[in-house]
Amino acid sequence: MIGRIFKEGLWTNHPIFRQLLGMCPTLAVTTTVLNGISMGLAVIFVLFFSSLVVSLLRKVVPHQVRIAVYTIIIATFVTIVDIFLKANFPQISKALGPYVPLIIVNCIILGRCEAFASKNRLSLALLDALVMGGGFFWGLVTLASVREILGQGTILGYKILPPSFNPLIVMVLPPGAFLVLGTLVAIMNRLERIK
């Protein structure tokens, strides 16, 4: 069971490349690696604590209103993250902008609460949240690295490509997000077929 959680979350059922969930933050904030890391950590935090509460309440919440209950739980933790970022990391909060509150409607979180945390005991639910969050995190960082290297020639702000390299501005603009993600999903499909 534990091995399956790891394999699914990090590879075979990867939230971004396989399930295509949580597209809105994935595409929007991955202009720089720093933004990708911040968003990844924020999602891991919300996913972990929402799974914790949902798993604890799984026998109490009536079936008909469960989605509304989960949404309110998620919205509460997102509000905490938002206030925390505004107070301690105002620059990151500004860079992520409206995409922090939009974590509420990130389908990965609601999806894991509904599909896993509401049906499994606490320890498994927490592990699943961390692994799925980790899968989302490495997806974001990969996408952001490609876009930052090609779009600005830097990674985390450090110059790594020679000055003669002409940055492809389109990579940090919205179309670049779609093009890079499409290519990465195709590469994942290719790797899958080798196995």
Binding site: M23, C24, A68, T79, L102, N106, C107, P175, A177, V185
Partner: protein
């Protein structure tokens, strides 16, 4: 009046919700496979977005700001949207069964459409007045619908193309969306800041 026209044009074409803010990507990828379902989804979104934007404005300015409860904004907005979708669904079913038939399963799906919440949040962040908020909600929905229809048209043609195996399905759709986003960037010269 000039501001309203400006909001309309810039929201539909220049700052398109799907192609510049990446809002509503899930339904955009999910229901753009067929033109008929894209039409149903598009009109449901216009409908709900206009209402959601107006009602979120009223609640934010008349209740949350007055009572100093602005920190509850996210929780309140998401509840407003969820209940609004429910009410709209019941209303449409009662008064226009044919429209209900046409919108079908797309109405409940809209609750989880991040474009609706995004619209409410942007509307608050930009300090729009009530009329501007209504126009903003309507044009954001219209922009979503326009892009969804264009995409559905392209994907129906794409069915007849020889796409390399690894690019079939999601990758080619994403790349098509990327090219579409490039085209829409051409509109950015339309309004001089």
């Amino acid at each position: 009046m000039k501001e309203l026209v400006l909001i309309f044009i810039s929201t539909v074409l220049i700052n398109n919700f799907v192609l510049t803010y990446f809002l509503g990507i899930c339904p955009f990828l999910g229901v753009s496979g067929r033109l008929s379902s894209a039409i149903g989804m598009g009109f449901s979104v216009i409908f709900v977005m206009t209402f959601a934007s107006s009602i979120a404005w009223l609640i934010y300015h008349l209740i949350l700001v007055k009572l100093n409860l602005v920190f509850l904004e996210y929780i309140v907005f998401i509840l407003v949207i969820a209940s609004l979708v429910q009410i709209v669904e019941m209303f449409v079913r009662k008064y226009s069964p044919s429209l209900y038939q046409a919108l079908g399963i797309y109405l409940p799906l809209i609750t989880t459409n991040c474009a609706i919440l995004g619209c409410a949040l942007f509307m608050v962040a930009r300090n729009y007045n009530f009329l501007e908020a209504v126009v903003y909600g309507f044009s954001a929905g219209l922009g979503f619908t326009v892009v969804l229809l264009v995409m559905a048209g392209i994907r129906e043609e794409l069915n007849y193309c020889e796409v390399p195996k690894v690019f079939r399905g999601a990758p080619i759709t994403l790349i098509t969306a990327g090219l579409l986003a490039l085209c829409f960037m051409g509109f950015s010269g339309l309004i001089r800041a």
